[in-house]
């Protein structure tokens, strides 16, 4: 009987032996997986500068002998925890910035409490961000501040920058930031105004629960969770794979609830009326036109972003009023753009070279 084309019979015993060893390793490591906790995340040394309900402002301790003049404030997305940017040593964006000589602050969010269901877009854009910028100025002794916004943190940073266009924001960097919400096709369909009664939802339950936010993200790729668990089992003998899986899985499922009124405003102003794209957005009666932004701006987008597709993000650079502006498209997805092996090789060095020369 002939071997099938391409099958190397000579290597078959080695292959079988290797697979048997892996099967044993899977059983051993599989038990370890359930018996142990995951890696400790977000452990770069930091101090709390300001806490007010859902708002947390951290300052990371500098790690170099001299730092750039302009401090950096990172504004995290309101749906997720900021430790995605500070996973573990060697895979931490924060640590990377610190070792490159930046003075780093982060505006991170904790779950809004039931009584914070009344927080509006105004509270985030006209209160929380300006308050944090003031604390950064006070703590650093510098007037200028560079802002980095990730995903919806980018939207909040844009709204802030377009309203407070006279300063003190010196540079703006956005990661995977949506502008045209109609192009977020599935989210747009989920929140179709003919069927989605956002008033009923918010009036009934107050804050939008994290399970609902997580489900809407997972529905974008409904088979991926099951497939990733199959891949985990296949690679459970590989400590590095398991460590990486646990970090990202923990972060992805650690979704935050959204304050009810804030969610109502996002749905009506952005998902339904697409006001940021149309240039009609206002917050607390103050016009938030992207054309008002004149500071240097870098927008990093991911080639395979299934949450914020390129068609939703591509309008940012044409719409801002800055002369010094750049869009960079990098390989990766919505999360791997900013964290993980891809980010270390691609985004972080690009950001460092762009921001360094604008931070003196």
């Amino acid at each position: 009987m002939n071997a099938p084309a391409g099958l190397d019979l000579a290597s078959l015993p080695d292959r079988i032996q290797s697979e048997v060893q892996r099967a044993i390793q899977r059983s051993v490591k599989g038990v370890e997986y359930f018996a142990s906790s995951g890696p400790s995340l977000g452990s770069t040394p930091k101090d709390i500068l300001n806490v007010r309900g859902t708002m947390n402002l951290y300052h990371y301790r500098p790690q170099t002998d001299e730092i750039y003049r302009v401090p950096v404030l990172i504004v995290m997305a309101t749906t997720n925890r900021g430790y995605i940017l500070d996973l573990v040593p060697g895979q931490s964006f924060i640590e990377f910035l610190l070792t490159r000589g930046y003075d780093v602050y982060m505006l991170d969010w904790s779950a809004p409490r039931p009584e914070e269901k009344k927080l509006r877009m105004e509270d985030y854009v006209l209160d929380f961000i300006p308050d944090c910028v003031r604390h950064v100025q006070q703590d650093s002794g510098e007037t200028d501040v560079s802002v980095i916004g990730y995903c919806f943190g980018g939207v909040l940073s844009l709204l802030y920058g377009s309203i407070f266009h006279d300063g003190p924001m010196k540079n703006l960097i956005c990661f995977t930031t949506p502008i045209d919400f109609r192009e977020m096709k599935l989210f747009s369909n989920f929140s179709d105004r003919r069927y989605f009664d956002v008033d009923h939802l918010v009036d009934s339950i107050g804050n939008v629960p994290p399970e609902m936010i997580l489900s809407s993200f997972e529905m974008l790729r409904p088979a991926s969770r099951a497939a990733s668990q199959v891949q985990l089992w296949e690679n459970i003998w590989n400590d590095e794979y398991v460590k990486s899986y646990r970090m990202f899985d923990r972060w992805a499922t650690d979704t935050l609830p959204l304050a009810g009124e804030y969610f109502r405003a996002i749905t009506k102003d952005l998902m339904w009326d697409n006001k940021l794209y149309d240039g009609t957005m206002s917050v607390g009666g103050r016009a938030a036109d992207l054309a008002n932004i004149k500071v240097p701006i870098l927008h990093a987008v991911a080639e395979h972003d299934h949450i914020v597709p390129y068609d939703a993000a591509k309008h940012l650079i044409p719409k801002v009023g800055s002369e010094d502006k750049e869009e960079v498209m990098l390989k990766g997805g919505h999360v791997s753009l900013v964290a993980g092996a891809n980010a270390i090789k691609r985004l972080w060095p690009k950001l460092d070279s762009w921001l360094g020369e604008r931070s003196t």
Binding site: P4, A5, G6, L7, D8, S11, R15, E19, N50, V51, R52, G53, R61, P62, T64, D65, E66, I67, Y68, R69, G101, D103, R113, P114, E115, D139, S140, E142, K185, L186, N189, F190, D192, R194, Y195, F196, D197, H200, L201, S204, I205, M212, M219, L220, R221, P222, A223, S224, A226, A227, V230, Q231, E234, S353, G356, E357, S359, T360
Partner: protein, 129 residues
Amino acid sequence: MADSTSDPLALWQKMIGEMEKGFNAFANQAMSSPQFSKAMNQASGATAGAQRQLSDLMEKYLLTMNLPSRAQMVGMSERLQSIEGQLNEIKALLLQMNAMSGITRDSIAATPRPPRTKRPPPASPGAQK
């Protein structure tokens, strides 16, 4: 090294990858329809309504059991929040007083901040911006 056409593990992984892509694409297409949106939102609307009714019922039940109601717990949480706020104000005031007396946060921590003198490294020849 066995090529991917003869490696059963590679074939299995490829099959899983293709199945994932195929199912995701199929589901995305199905979820793009207005009918899906309608059905999904009817279901979640009913859930939200039920959740509210359950919440009201629980409130009455807790009252009967002489246990603190949600509103009372929220009230306590608000008081705690107010205490937290006042602590933050006291902290800020102490820092201000320290600053006025010449003692800075850095000197308290005995870790002076590095000077803000860093310059970007010179671009290597031929490097693209």
